[in-house]
Symmetry: C2
């Protein structure tokens, strides 16, 4: 065992770990510390840099020399994923995404409130020789349960409690389970927490089940991020050996526990008055949360362990700090999860006469097309490009991320989240930048950055921002002197290629669903752009780069985190919760990997619109 001491800002933490563990893994064991490592610790992304202040370590590996300059190596910088702990060591960590201010948004719930967990104050008649019903029957006969389920621990609690409260109690129940019994009238204290587990971001909403109000919201980066940026790298990590799946599960369950407690405490809500946690999320994230092996999802034919909704008690999880029901919404396939079912519910496209298209671009890009008669869905390898992965200076939607770009006075003008010095570029910035480059004529429709002699007019001024190094040409988005990273923030030819791939996947996905449904783009009445990404991009830029069909521009609406919204609405309405099951059942999944129409369109759609 060795001690790893980690300095980050003005926080210093220590942890005892077994020798042989990587520095990345060691740091991840510290509560609330997550070093970004989008490759999942394979030494291929170079993002997990730390500075070693003290302590012995093995000599730098080849992959470290690739990502670190000789100056950096001299100064003690190392890739934390590649360095095993072999003795006590002190490290300085900068890039920890602690408390990152991820943007979330929500709309209020406007439907009829009929929460999945209800409370009812009961003034029970006292027993007598003429009324010898058992304590439990006395309660059950006063509430409308279809097929009453009562846990043994609750049955044990009832006889004492019912007498102590002199037969004045509040029952807590779902449609077929008596969940709890409380002394006196506590009807007005009924809270739930809706959670969307995204691959990158987790959003949690504290809901007042009596009023439907969203009392508070919090979000954070998924703490599993250090094990890989996308679902595939997480699944691969889970398959690395015994205990890895449990480690991933533990990470996410702990994080969700912390979010729940934080929400309760910040709002002076007793933990005892939170009766439900309702989860949306993609299929893999739900597998990891429940500790169910997701390996089958990673390889063809992409088989998940489960898809249906889950209704459990929190006691199924070790050390869960709330005693409450845990619901998860149902998924459709390995790559179209409960987050999309939730999105369909939130946009109500399953009940509309008109044809709607829902695009949720998160770490994957899921697309749903249909109306009340029929729904089709697919998942495209849009990849996490729009979340900043695979983009040289890509970032999530955190403070300091370039989130927009326009041409002003023949120059690229950017803004950053929080108006801080630029640290990198997030999804909305990436799309704006590509749109700007295309429309100014610096990049041709094939995605190629033009040569100097091909550029004319005002675009030529922008050429000042082009630099060419061993990695090829790149545009300087913000110069080193103005950034927070002491280096230029650039957008490279390779980054443009990443956007092309993602754009092609989404476009071809849309066309494939239309083809399947026998419809055309002009038949679409609504385009819902969902996800954190959907909320913040310029719809115009998205159309400019051909990510969404230009003719749908006027019909496009940013609908925010529909996964979260759907979860909230399922928590607040038993009917909506039931509808999610129906949606999951009737929505037809279209497998694109074996679809020749998709593959043809994917090639065709690789090009940008011509300007």
């Amino acid at each position: 065992m060795s001690t790893v001491k980690v300095s980050h800002g003005d926080r210093i933490s220590s942890i005892e770990v077994e020798d042989g563990l990587s520095l990345l893994e060691a740091v991840s064991k510290i509560k609330d510390m997550h070093i970004d490592a989008s490759c999942g610790g394979k030494g291929t992304c170079g993002k997990c840099k730390v500075k070693v202040l003290k302590g012995e370590l093995p000599k730098p590996s080849l992959s470290e020399s690739k990502f670190l300059s000789s100056k950096e190596l001299e100064d003690g910088y190392r890739l934390s994923c590649m360095v095993p702990v072999i003795g006590n060591v002190d490290v300085l960590v900068n890039g920890i995404n602690e408390n990152s201010n991820i943007l979330t948004e929500h709309k209020g719930f406007t439907g009829k409130i009929n929460p999945v967990i209800k409370k009812k104050y009961l003034t029970l008649s006292k027993p007598s020789l003429d009324d010898q019903r058992s304590d439990l029957s006395r309660i059950l006969e006063s509430i409308p349960l279809k097929n009453p389920q009562v846990s043994l621990s609750l049955r044990r609690k009832i006889p004492t409690l019912i007498r102590e409260s002199e037969y004045l109690i509040t029952a807590v129940f779902s449609s077929d389970t008596l969940l709890g019994v409380e002394k006196g009238n506590t009807e007005d204290l009924n809270y739930g927490i809706a959670i969307d587990i995204g691959t990158t971001t987790i959003a949690a909403y504290l809901i007042d089940m009596n009023t439907g109000d969203i009392v508070d919201t919090i979000s954070g980066l998924n703490s599993q991020k250090i094990f890989g940026a996308d679902v595939i790298s997480r699944i691969e990590y889970s398959m690395q050996g015994p205990g890895k799946l449990e480690l991933l599960q533990n990470k996410i369950v702990t994080q969700i526990s912390d979010l729940c407690i934080f929400l309760a405490d910040r709002n002076n809500v007793s933990r005892n008055n939170i009766y439900s946690v309702i989860l949306a999320g993609n299929t893999t994230m739900l597998h990891l949360f429940f500790g169910i092996d997701p390996a089958g999802i990673a390889v063809a034919p992409f088989i998940p362990g489960f898809l249906g909704s889950m209704e459990l008690h929190s006691s199924a999880f070790k050390d869960f700090p709330l005693g409450c029901a845990v619901f998860s919404l149902p998924s459709i396939s390995g790559y179209v999860g409960a987050d999309i079912v939730s999105g369909i519910l939130a946009t109500n496209m399953h009940e509309r006469e008109e044809l709607s298209l829902l695009i949720d671009i998160g770490t994957n890009g899921e697309i749903v097309l249909g109306n009340k008669d029929k729904l089709f869905c697919c998942s495209t390898a849009a990849g996490p490009a729009f979340e900043g992965a695979h983009i040289t200076y890509g970032l999530g939607g955190i403070t300091g991320a370039v989130d927009s770009a326009v041409i002003e006075n023949d120059m690229i003008k950017i803004s950053t989240i929080g108006n801080e010095k630029a640290l990198g570029i997030c999804g909305s910035g990436i799309i704006d930048i590509v749109a700007v480059l295309l429309k100014s004529g610096l990049v041709e429709f094939t995605g190629r950055i033009k040569d100097e002699d091909e550029v004319e007019g005002s675009a030529a001024i922008l050429l000042q921002k082009l630099k060419i190094d061993k990695n090829g040409p790149a545009f300087i988005i913000e110069e080193a002197s103005k950034t927070g990273i002491s280096d230029d923030v650039v957008f490279t030819q390779g980054d443009i290629r990443e956007v092309q791939l993602a754009k092609a996947a989404i476009s071809a996905g849309i066309l494939s669903l239309l083809n399947k449904a026998g419809r055309e783009i002009s038949d679409i009445d609504h385009l819902f752009l969902a996800g954190g990404f959907g909320s913040y991009i310029s719809i115009k830029s998205a159309a400019d780069i051909g990510l969404i069909p230009a003719e749908l521009l006027e019909k496009t609406e940013s609908v925010g985190n529909t996964a979260g919204l759907g979860a909230i609405s399922s928590a607040l309405s038993e009917e909506n919760y039931k509808k999610t099951k129906e949606i999951a059942k009737i929505t037809e999944y279209v497998e694109l990997s074996s679809d020749s129409f998709f593959n043809m369109k994917y090639m065709e759609e690789m090009v940008f619109p011509e300007y």
Copy 2:
């Protein structure tokens, strides 16, 4: 902490206990050690005698002097319930009812087999891009579950198992729960255990769910006996303070675990192939098994914590050695339990056209009257007299108990269980003895033992067996020289009074139900005598003393342990299991404690028939 060393036969055990605990409680903590103490450790029955070999103890208390002769005290005998441990002590215990050979019996199951837990071998189609159902759906869609419930731990197990077994698996399921999944075809290994938890005796049956065969049977004294002979004293013990209920629960759960393991091992049945434990028992015993406070049952208006059937997984119990479903049958009231519901099912009286009477005399005496149209039931304080409690030399049906008595050659001739030297008298012996004494003219119909001068003819010879001491007159049933206890086994005037009380309660109960139903004794077509007691008594003697109506003699049938039989039949037939719920619902409980008709009849029925 002190060490208590216990010698019993050739077994010596030691246990570390806290000072202050009684010796009785200390010994009870040793696995398989139960000292008989029918008063529940209050120092009022004198049965928990032990010999102290070494160690310091407080001076004998008053109640000890009452039950122990000065010779016994001199020799180191003490009442274990009255002596607190105050230091290390070695004791010799004789009366431990370990491995007592209690009589049980059963009939085979003859109905249609449709067990509550089924197994089905599934040859699942392998997944493909055209069949992307989840692992779980693939299984669930192949078995007929109404509203599928699957535990989290099973969901975790499925993805690996389904692949390892190459999609050839056996599903284990009840009507709405998938309980397990096994590799390959294991259909022919499906066992269940039916258990009747009596206040005095526990009977367990290992059942082959494929054939309906009762593979093996075992029974033992309820290990909670040291905490009281009847339900009231057990409940009182459970109310003595924190942890007492848990202690009682732990005792019975451990005993049932042991019985299950013993049955499995003795029959070379893998513990993994036992999928259900189905429980009958009286209401209080079921409360204690589940750890649910039974306090409300002890006092008017006699309210149980629960009555309905319970469907749990064994994981609800700490350290339960089987991973299986645990079912309990439903009860009717605080004093008419699942054992009686089970008895109704076993005798089929709820489906018969003819009027039937069921009498189950165990530690209480429960009576059911009715037919397919209507059933009435009641519980009488018949008390545990017929199980040997409150009878000076009373014993359960163990080896050495006098189990029959007849007059032969003007002398009382007895037999004992196992033809061993008499140790005491069990229920069937008690009834025979009273019948003999009545019919020979030694006891008059009021229950009074006649004076010498009142006795005539051959009966006078029997007078030789009458002895009179400070406790009044008593008949010597077996002389000290022939018994196994170095003392006369006698039957006293007080014992006769106990039988009168019990007999009056049963008779008055029968009359009360008839009154409620508007029927007469002559309307009864069947009298079923249930319980271990019912199996072994002489029906003729029971009629002779007026315990059962003489006119029903020809219509009376001993039906054995119907509680166990009903549990077996519920385990083997889902339909029967459902019927128990129906029976519990429709059977009307008649509360006798407040019934003036009953009270009047109770007084009238105190007398024996006249001879």
